[in-house]
């Protein structure tokens, strides 16, 4: 079986760490300047949450070769739990984030133990089915308010003095959260753990024969990915001030896959670019109604047929850089 990212990872790398440092610097500066340029901050904040989500997803598929088609369940679970903690329990924001992310962590442990029992497309179908199971649970559970979702969630004051209802303040808090998650993923990829993960992606039987307990590595990657996806979901609650069923529905999982595919599977910056491209598309094409779905489908097909490296992957390939 050929690896899913065989075509997407540039094989020639030249001083990869320095390239990545420069790219990271550019990304940070651009994102830090954004609130002062007149771009709608809500849009960028939403983009940051989805970018983190896509990065977390990419950790699993791009480096572990595991296609999760149910990542929306982590986004939605953390969103519901954080939203409930803020609104009903009246917890301060920092604790609400911890509780929400913790809920996704627990979910990732349980679903990961079940899902890693099968590989390839079966893994994708199992994660999809598990997320649909959760969708129906959230549809019926009283605390999620079914179709209405949790509305009007208060933003509160982070650590008691950072007022999150101020758009600029909130922006920098979300940006800080995104960068934290991004660096955790970056660190994980460039650690011995990440190297083993890549070895599993390329040739699992060989990794097993070398003595690695590959299931443990895959489970750990799944937990890390699910937890960070949950962290993105918790942050998103402060931006959108609601938590609803759309975040848990399987079409959301499909969108996460699309974001990563467009940006570049197995590239570090690809999911960030892909997330912003897809979010921008939804924002500016909203007037076309259901045609947006059709356009997304066309992009899916085009990416798989002709453009498997994605935007960042193609750029990296062009300049023979690993991004």
């Amino acid at each position: 079986m050929t690896s899913i990212t065989q075509n997407s990872v540039p094989t020639t790398t030249r001083r990869p760490v320095r390239d990545e440092m420069i790219a990271f610097g550019i990304m940070t500066v651009v994102l830090a300047v954004v609130p002062f340029t007149g771009v709608y901050p809500f849009f960028v904040m939403q983009g940051l949450c989805f970018a983190l989500l896509a990065c977390a997803f990419n950790l699993l598929i791009g480096y572990g070769g595991l296609l999760s088609f149910g990542h929306a369940m982590f986004l939605g679970t953390a969103g519901y739990v954080s939203g409930h903690a803020l609104k009903v329990w009246g917890l301060p924001p920092e604790l609400a984030i911890v509780v929400g992310t913790g809920a996704s962590f627990c979910l990732a442990v349980v679903t990961g133990l079940i899902a890693i029992r099968r590989q390839g497309i079966y893994f994708a179908m199992i994660t999809l089915a598990l997320s649909q199971l959760l969708y129906f649970i959230y549809l019926q559970a009283p605390f999620t308010h079914g179709e209405d979702g949790i509305q009007g969630i208060p933003q509160g004051k982070l650590f008691g003095f950072i007022d999150l209802s101020n758009a600029t303040t909130l922006y920098f808090v979300v940006l800080a959260g995104f960068l934290l998650g991004f660096l955790i993923i970056y660190r994980a990829i460039n650690s011995p753990f990440g190297e083993v993960l890549k070895a599993i992606r390329e040739n699992e039987p060989r990794a097993i024969s070398l003595g690695y307990k590959t299931d443990q590595y895959k489970l750990l990657a799944f937990i890390l990915s699910g937890t960070l996806a949950g962290f993105a979901g918790s942050l998103k609650v402060f931006v959108a001030q609601n938590a609803s069923l759309t975040d848990v529905h399987w079409t959301m999982s499909g969108e996460i896959v699309l974001m990563t595919l467009v940006g570049g599977l197995g590239t570090i910056f690809g999911p960030v670019v892909g997330a912003f491209v897809i979010i921008a598309m939804q924002q500016y094409l909203a007037g076309f109604g259901q045609w947006v779905t059709v356009i997304q489908g066309v992009i899916f097909v085009a990416c798989v047929l002709t453009f498997r490296r994605g935007i960042v992957g193609e750029i990296g390939h062009l300049f023979k850089r690993s991004l």
């Binding site: 497309i121 199971l133 549809l139 066309v298 798989v304």
Partner: protein, 291 residues
């Protein structure tokens, strides 16, 4: 606990009907997976197209249900073959996951187009005259159309099984799955066989769509949520054998029906819960080969 026999039997019947759809759809998926190594995510969308095809045949051309039963699978099957020739064939040799992603994109396109023209509400499709009414079985009234769906899909499933497992064409098919290069050396046109197989699998999905049109309304998203349940059925059954997917499909429909009677809150989730339990005990699925 008191058991209300008519209500229980009614739920069992609903379960059997859902089971027929699961069986027809997972059978089609198994046939396609066997030859193309692709999990056809577009299966739900093609099932929906089958139902819409019946609707168009009736309302645009005045062709009734019986014509639809024959023509819909052929029309949608041809559409599938074009899809295989133009899109799917470029994926051979790549990771299975790309097939899943490509067909997911196709499903989005098809559903988006239909939603754009027909919204999300359902279009009615009347039960054909010959199949209206109900039969008194003594212990319950059986609506004729529902009985027809169960019997007809069972027959189609068994015919498909017979064709693949007991005929020469089926033998070629299975041989081509095992070793396409060798079968090609015997002078058999394997790419054409792959195209026809995809058409057959898609035709089965469309047939399920026609059968479901009079029961469930014709809606653009009718296949979208169904397909996830069918995936769970596939994980439970394991897609190891054709018969396995048929039996698993019907059995899970019945279990779902029983749950609806005894504990309705869990009826949406019971298939997924079963999937988890089966995975914990036997990860390769009930009839599956170990991977």
């Amino acid at each position: 606990m008191d058991i209300n026999v008519p209500a229980l039997l009614a739920q069992l019947l609903v379960g059997l009907i859902n089971g027929s759809f699961y069986a027809l759809l997972s059978l089609g998926l198994a046939v396609i997976f066997g030859m193309l190594n692709i999990i056809n995510f577009a299966h739900g969308a093609l099932y929906m197209m089958g139902a819409f095809c019946a609707y168009f045949l009736l309302n645009l051309l005045g062709l009734n249900y019986w014509w639809a039963l024959i023509l819909s699978p052929i029309i949608v099957g041809l559409f599938g073959m074009v899809m295989e020739r133009t899109l799917l064939q470029w994926l051979s040799g790549l990771d299975h996951l790309y097939g899943l992603l490509l067909t997911f994109g196709v499903a989005l396109i098809i559903q988006g187009v239909f939603q754009n023209y027909f919204g999300s509400s359902g279009l009615p499709y009347a039960i054909p005259e010959q199949l209206r009414g109900a039969i008194n079985l003594g212990f319950m009234y059986l609506p004729v159309y529902r009985g027809w769906v169960v019997v007809f899909s069972l027959v189609v499933c068994l015919l498909t099984w017979f064709m693949i497992e007991r005929t020469r064409l089926g033998a070629y098919l299975r041989a081509a799955t095992e070793n396409p290069t060798l079968v090609r050396a015997f002078g058999i046109n394997v790419p054409r066989m792959i195209t026809l197989t995809y058409g057959l699998g898609v035709g089965l999905a469309a047939l399920a769509g026609v059968l479901s049109a009079p029961i469930n309304q014709v809606r653009p998203l009718m296949g979208a949520d169904l397909i996830i349940v069918v995936f769970a059925v596939v994980v439970i059954g394991g897609m190891g054998s054709i018969m396995g997917s048929i039996i698993t499909g019907f059995a899970l429909g019945v279990i779902e029906g029983l749950t609806k009677y005894f504990y309705p809150e869990a009826s949406n989730t019971v298939v997924f819960v079963l999937m988890v339990l089966v995975l914990l005990v036997k990860p390769s699925g009930l009839t599956g080969r170990a991977t």
